[in-house]
Assembly symmetry: C2
Homo-oligomer: 360 residues x 2
């Protein structure tokens, strides 16, 4: 682990890497310094929900600034990441992404050839996701004032007919279901938890690209736009929540569900898909795959009656072929617990932050 | 002038400050490297319009990344700028800003006290503009990888009843008027050009805060959200286009109108309000107030029959008290021309870029 709550206490008067690492420390900064100031108008899904996107009068709206280092890595680059990440944040709410904005901040002296490569990658990812850029901004700062390039992509989306259909199916099995979006607070006891594929690929590829292991790995990032895969799951119906395990990984995601839905979650270690090369690379650094960020995976909570059908629909897609039903929500306890291969149980805590800085 | 097209030619294989400075060189980068790749779905106001915002199914959508240096300056700070700038970009399209996103990228070690001061300023500016933040993102990069802090704010807005009313008034006087937003391409011969107040304040305040003049000035930035002032003008009606003269100043704005509307624009030097302290500070550095960026001004093109009424409505507001009818559109030529105090005329070219880097 690179940072811990201790470091935070020591350095409490300044910003640490952990403040941007998607875990407990970031949540604290947001809750204590931002929420009170910005809570304003009543929105359909407000800032206070701290979900993957906000919703205003039926429009899903989300933003992400991408600072990944290095900007090119096995399986992707900052351009692909910037499109996929924002498309996915809209999609996991149940939204259909319709338009993106791109804000570039570039260091003086950055090679035009590299910018072109990034733009091309963004364009290809837009094409793959079926979204377009409708507005943009370009700023340049003097040499030394920025490490190469930062891209912000924000995005807007609308309700899809697949979401409507999905919610109808949910209500067939859960008559008291009120939510009109796939919120973190929607999970109930008995819901099955499905992960759409192997975890840890992205963070491991980033570490490998930095030469962190002292040897090369063949691990590739999973970065991909997942809106079509998610739509496929919604067509089956019964999905109550969906979320992508980015910074802080699956450990952070499940703890957010647990906290916001006030529910326990039990997952089984041997049902969590991790590639062998990822396992050994992370083992080398003593990192927990559960805490490492992903950029091409979604975790679904599904009413039990439809879980198997959703699983099969996911497995029929290229992005979801390794999907696994890895656990379920329970009211027997109110934390996230992992059942190990030999039958023991341990609590999966919310990480202080993703162990790998600047993965997205 | 800090940069010129010559520098661009020499350094054409890498990004220069001019690529982000809002002038000819930035436009070229956008047109040659970005537009072809990102033109996709047919939107109501697409990326290709290169206007202040895009429009998708009635939703105005815009983005800006703020890199201003220094982050605190007389009259404002990066927080106020980040809210006002995005609110204004929505408003000059005729949109009513309803929700913003905030993406922070912060350098490790940044003082929490400074972050709090920025957040408080953002909150106060939101309050002043009557908008709220609905979604956000926080990233931290290691010390040395960024000069303090960058804020991206994107925003969405909707058609306002004031815009509808305004367009009805326009059509009373111009029966062939088709546009449903206040586009750069809407200006026609005879339209009066109104500037809402003094120019050059913001850029001059930024230069002063950097100690660029070698002496202190009492120039304050004009940074302010202008949505209420713009609504006031639309209530009168007759506004065909509105735009805020930010990077590249009034010279860039008028050239964009001239190019996109295929029209000439004649402005009178003695009708352009410039504060005395701004005039002397810019004179000291040999800078042209027309090319210096503003963050609290709007330029309106108005049908002649309503121009005086719009001017009076602007002057009745605190932000528009120095408003001036400074010129008009003409089909006698197709460039931007300035009539000097002694009656001579000179062409106002589109600047290569704003002469002051990192003003927003």
């Amino acid at each position: 682990m690179i940072y811990s709550a201790d470091i935070f206490c020591i350095m409490q008067n300044s910003i640490t890497l952990a403040h941007g690492a998607g875990g407990v420390i970031m949540q604290r900064l947001i809750k204590e310094n931002m929420l009170a100031r910005f809570s304003g108008k009543k929105f359909e899904v407000p800032l206070e929900a701290l979900d993957d996107a906000g919703v205003v009068d039926g429009t899903v709206f989300t933003t992400d600034s991408y600072t990944v280092k290095p900007i090119f890595f096995a399986g992707g680059d900052i351009g692909r990441l910037s499109i996929a990440g924002t498309v996915n944040d809209i999609s996991v709410m149940g939204g259909d992404p319709i338009a993106l904005s791109c804000g570039f901040v570039i260091e003086e002296g950055f090679a035009l050839e590299d910018l072109d490569r990034i733009l091309q990658s963004m364009a290809e990812t837009c094409e793959q996701a079926g979204v377009s850029v409708v507005t943009g901004d370009t700023k340049v700062v003097e040499k030394g004032a920025l490490d190469k390039i930062i891209i912000n992509t924000s995005g807007i989306g609308r309700r899809s007919k697949e979401l409507e259909r999905n919610l109808q199916v949910v209500r067939q099995f859960r008559s008291d279901f009120q939510a009109s979006w796939l919120l973190d607070s929607n999970v109930r006891a008995g819901d099955k938890i499905i992960i759409s594929g192997t975890i840890g690929d992205h963070g491991t590829a980033i570490m490998s690209a930095r030469g962190a292991y002292g040897f090369e790995t063949d691990v590739k990032s999973d970065v991909a736009p997942l809106n079509r895969m998610i739509k496929g799951a919604l067509e089956v119906g019964g999905v109550v929540s969906a979320k992508d395990p980015t910074r802080g990984g699956l450990a952070n995601l499940l703890n957010e569900w647990s906290e916001k839905s006030r529910i326990g979650i039990l997952i089984k270690e041997d049902r969590i898909p991790v590639k062998e090369n990822v396992k050994s690379a992370l083992g080398f650094l003593g990192m927990d795959a559960l805490e490492v960020g992903n950029e091409g995976k979604v975790c679904f909570a599904v009413v039990p009656e439809k879980a198997e059908a959703v699983l099969q629909a996911l497995r029929a897609t290229p992005e979801g072929r390794d999907a696994s039903m890895m656990g379920q929500a329970t009211d027997e306890f109110d934390v996230v617990a992992l059942e190990t291969g030999i039958g023991g149980k341990r609590i999966v805590s919310q990480p202080a932050g993703d162990p790998i800085p600047r993965i997205c």
